[in-house]
């Protein structure tokens, strides 16, 4: 057993000495930050309410035509400052002078209303203005529908905009919890194929260490690092006030998946015996598995989402399924490794 610990320590030391693990952490930080940039960007278009865009940006609209239209009221409700103009020329002058951001031409509301909206030509400006005008225009549309005798249901459902919530729990958290597993797999391949290519494995192996002990130590070392990273992410997420339900099970699932991926990558590296092919096949394998798991409800990603949001029906039994898979793979690997390695590459 002490030999095993010594091997694990040796592996960990080589990682910390080369500071590679720091690079891995920087990668994940990069991914997470870029994702949050994207999130904020997306939110401002899908869900302007949720980041308070409407409250922060106020736009000024000039209205020509029926100043008593209900639309004016809806515009005011949504933080749009309305100025009434009697002639299009006045409105155009004000627009050119930059006093108003948009011009709305309203007619009386009977039957089908065809209104004209004038926006600045600049793409970025008009996009933002249109996004802010969307809500009052929608309300006006529903008002017109009611006037036409069309009843629209579910208009008053109370709820919070869910985009951030969904993105956080179905993307950010699975990425942060499973990326360390991907890193672990890569590390195992590098570690094994480096020893195979430098022919140092034979020395280790002929020493009083069994081959499985060497492989077991390498997998364990990768696993230790993966779990440490996941724990780090969960602390950082807590700092950012993202709460994770079932934290213990979440970390267990992350560890089990990291172990499964490490065993698979160990398989790949003893089968192909060089880094190039093993890494290539491994990264293809991981991308495909992530792709496949997208279609299944019980996939690790979906399971991670449900565990971390505190789904009522998800618990230890779901995680246990993956523990069983891990044990089967591990037994298979330990059985096959010696035979595989004897076959020349």
């Amino acid at each position: 057993m002490s030999a095993f610990y010594a091997m694990v320590k040796r592996e960990l030391r080589s990682v910390t000495r080369e500071k590679t693990i720091m690079i891995a952490i920087v990668i994940q930080l990069c991914i997470a930050s870029f994702s949050s940039v994207i999130l904020i960007g997306l939110m401002s278009f899908y869900d302007p309410d949720s980041i308070g865009l409407n409250a922060r940006i106020s736009i000024k609209a000039g209205v020509i035509g029926d100043a008593n239209s209900p639309l004016v009221g809806f515009l005011n409700d949504c933080n749009v400052k309305v100025t009434a103009f009697s002639s299009p020329l006045d409105a155009e002058d004000a627009f050119e002078a930059g006093m108003i951001d948009a011009i709305i031409f309203v007619l009386d509301d009977s039957g089908v209303v065809e209104m004209k909206l004038f926006l600045p030509q600049s793409e970025s400006l008009s996009t933002v203005i249109l996004m802010i005008l969307k809500e009052p225009l929608k309300r006006y549309e529903n008002y017109l529908r009611q006037a036409n005798g069309v009843h629209v249901r579910y208009l008053d459902v109370v709820g919070m905009p869910s985009t951030t919530y969904e993105f956080r729990y179905s993307f950010i958290i699975p990425v942060l919890m499973f990326f360390p597993a991907f890193v672990a797999g890569s590390m195992v391949i590098d570690s094994i194929s480096e020893e195979l290519e430098n022919r140092t494995l034979e020395t280790l192996w002929s020493a009083p260490l069994s081959l499985n002990l060497v492989f077991g130590a390498k997998i364990t070392a990768a696993l230790v690092l993966a779990v440490a990273q996941c724990a780090l992410w969960s602390v950082l997420l807590r700092f950012n006030r993202v709460s994770i339900q079932n934290l213990g099970l979440v970390l267990l699932l992350a560890a089990v998946i990291a172990a499964i991926i490490s065993v698979v990558s160990a398989f790949a590296s003893v089968y192909f015996k060089d880094r190039e092919r093993s890494q290539f096949m491994y990264s293809l394998f991981v991308s495909i598995s992530a792709g496949i798991s997208y279609f299944f409800d019980f996939s690790p990603i979906a399971l991670m989402t449900r565990l971390s949001t505190g789904d009522y029906y998800t618990g230890i039994a779901d995680v246990a399924m993956y523990v069983v898979l891990l044990l089967v793979l591990l037994a298979g690997f330990f059985y096959a490794a010696r035979r595989l390695i004897a076959v020349p590459g």
Binding site: V113, F118, L119, P120, E166, S170, V183, Y313
Partner: protein, 606 residues
């Protein structure tokens, strides 16, 4: 050329020998699997958060077809009971939605609200005639404002439009016969015409989530929108296509990097270098097959998606060169497998973020032109872009490629490749080797020119680093982020400008303060020339962004030159005084000066 081709052939042979027999079968199988999966994912569309919410529905409630919800049909009393026990997150009770007051339930209700809104639209569309179901149509026109009237292509005045509109339908034949100088009367849609626009949008809504629309659509000057059918402007489908282009290039990198690593581990590269071929030929030969493969994949993808082949090649060739220039540095600088894996992983994630994420904001913010993939997105949306936009996003990439190839040929020697030193030492050595200090013929050294060109060529990299810092700053509260960002931007620039001089100092090529001052001036000037070149292109493209003003401070030429010179000279003189060991502190001091100057330009300090 002959040598390059020979080395390229050797590289292909090496690759083929890797995949023989059993492993070839495995590759074919796994590639076929990847293809099938990506095709299926492509068909199904990307949905985040499958099965996130559990929702109870009353027996007469709506049918929910959205993979985010797992639904169960239960009667009222059981539904409310389960809601109270947290076994379901929301309960659709006929025409209302019941939820609890905790976050999970409220988010579920919010997601339901979003879904039911669409559901209702579909119902209304089926139950009522189109004029009652969609009674509001908004015609969006774009007017030039005074600030941008110079850019306006065709100026149509609002009053003309309104006059034409209120005066009723135009005479059928009148449109062609307008005299020059007369106001052009715009043909006005009748209700039937806008109906067709509404139908078009309903069709889009129904097909939404399926295959992305990639046929060329022409963006007219005006468009008809229906507020409830308005979709957000994020070009998701096209961004996925853009990502598709990058994917094969990143995969092929494994082989390119391994090729160098292999030759390093079994020391064959020594043999290769002693052969009568130049370093450039070795690198170019090894790179050629992979660049060829990347180009082939670009062509195949474009043909498959029926895009514009020449345009796609014009946009993506600089991208391919850029990606390979980064991949070239990885195996040359690093030695162990683990390092290579992680650094290439870092490279992939930075490249993907730098290229893909800005493309998401195509059409929203002009800063998105920083990535050439924005042009790909534009191409597939049928939106026009000009030569300026093309140059703005692609021009830095060949620069990076040239720099990387040059440094690559300089450091391709046994001593450098086999040396085992920390990263910053490796980088410093690479910079030193890149500077022409007259190793071959001492009387023909080009130290001055090298230092000037070095800081000029480093600009695209500085640019990228600043973008990455910008993204990272989103993790920090805004109050601290801006200050930190300005300082970080200054640090990156100072390192780029002073690195050349610092390695010369370290290697005792220069000693006197006079030399340092001259070199600092040249380095600052080189940097400024590059910066202004970039600014010249970017001003016309990114004129609206405040950020560009901060990062690429505009203004007169003399003052920025003096500022660059002062901060660089400060860094270098401090390094000379206290030794290279204190270089980081010297950089920090220079950056503070630089940062203060930036604050002054921004008007924070009067």
């Amino acid at each position: 050329m002959g040598n390059i081709l020979t080395i390229a052939k050797r590289e292909i042979k090496r690759l083929r020998s890797r995949f023989r027999g059993g492993s070839r079968l495995a590759v074919v199988l796994i590639l076929a699997g990847a293809f099938v999966i990506s095709y299926l994912a492509f068909r199904q569309g990307v949905v985040l958060g499958q099965g996130m919410y559990r929702v109870g529905i009353s027996p007469r409630g709506p049918v929910i077809r959205d993979s985010r919800f797992r639904t169960v049909v239960i009667d009222r009393s059981a539904g409310y009971l389960m809601l109270g026990e947290r076994a379901i997150d929301a309960y659709v009770d006929g025409n209302t939605v019941a939820s609890r007051s905790d976050a999970r339930s409220l988010y579920a209700a919010g997601a339901l609200k979003q879904y039911l809104e669409k559901y209702e639209l579909a119902r209304i569309e089926g139950e009522y005639e189109i004029d009652r179901a969609f009674p509001l149509r908004v015609e969006v026109n774009y007017l030039p404002t005074s600030a941008e009237s110079g850019l306006a292509t065709q100026e149509t005045s609002l009053s003309e439009l309104v006059d034409a509109w209120t005066s009723g339908p135009p005479e059928p034949a009148g449109a062609d016969q307008t005299m020059p100088g007369e106001p052009v009367s715009q043909p006005v849609e009748s209700v039937d015409d806008t109906d067709s626009a509404v139908r078009e949008q309903i069709r889009e809504l129904e097909s939404g989530g399926g295959l992305p629309r990639i046929e060329m659509e022409f963006m007219a000057d005006k468009e008809i929108i229906v507020p409830s059918l308005m979709s957000p402007p994020i070009p998701f489908a096209q961004v996925i296509i853009a990502f598709l282009y990058i994917l094969p290039i990143t995969f092929v990198s494994v082989f390119f990097i391994s090729s160098f690593m292999d030759e390093k581990t079994d020391r064959r590269i020594t043999v290769l270098m002693s052969a009568p071929v130049t370093s450039f030929q070795i690198i170019a030969g090894k790179m050629l097959p992979y660049i060829g493969f990347s180009l082939a994949s670009v062509i195949v993808i474009t043909l498959f998606l029926k895009g514009n082949l020449l345009l796609a090649i014009a946009i993506l060739t600089p991208v391919i060169l850029f990606i390979f220039s980064i991949y070239l540095m990885v195996p040359l600088v690093y030695r162990t497998f683990k390092d290579t894996t992680f650094v290439s992983m870092l490279a992939v994630s930075v490249i993907v973020s730098y290229l893909v994420f800005p493309a998401m904001f195509s059409g929203v913010n002009d800063l998105s032109y920083i990535s050439p993939l924005t042009l790909i997105v534009k191409m597939y949306r049928g939106e026009p872009f000009g030569l300026k936009e093309y140059l703005f996003s692609t021009a830095p990439m060949p620069f990076v490629f040239i720099l990387s190839m040059y440094i690559g040929t300089r450091i391709l020697n046994e001593e450098y490749l086999m040396g085992f030193r920390p990263l910053y030492r490796k980088v410093a050595e690479a910079i030193y080797l890149a500077i022409d200090v007259g190793r071959r013929s001492p009387d023909r050294a080009h130290v001055y020119l090298s230092v000037t060109l070095l800081s000029l060529f480093l600009i695209p990299i500085v640019y990228m680093m600043q973008l990455v810092t910008l993204a990272l700053s989103f993790n920090v509260p805004v109050r601290y982020a801006l200050g930190g960002l300005l300082l970080a931007a200054a640090v990156v620039e100072e390192v780029a400008k002073s690195a050349g001089v610092a390695v010369l100092l370290e290697n005792r090529v220069i000693r006197s303060a006079r030399d340092i001052l001259v070199l600092s001036f040249l380095s600052a000037a080189g940097f400024l020339i590059g910066e202004k070149l970039l600014l010249y292109v970017s001003l016309s493209v990114v004129s609206e962004s405040v950020l560009s003003a901060a990062l690429f401070s505009s203004g007169m030429l003399l003052i920025p030159l003096v500022a660059h010179f002062v901060s660089t000279a400060l860094v270098c003189l401090l390094t000379r005084r206290f030794g290279v060991r204190y270089y980081p502190f010297a950089v920090l001091a220079g950056s503070v000066v630089h940062g203060l100057y930036n604050l002054y330009v921004l008007g924070v300090i009067p």
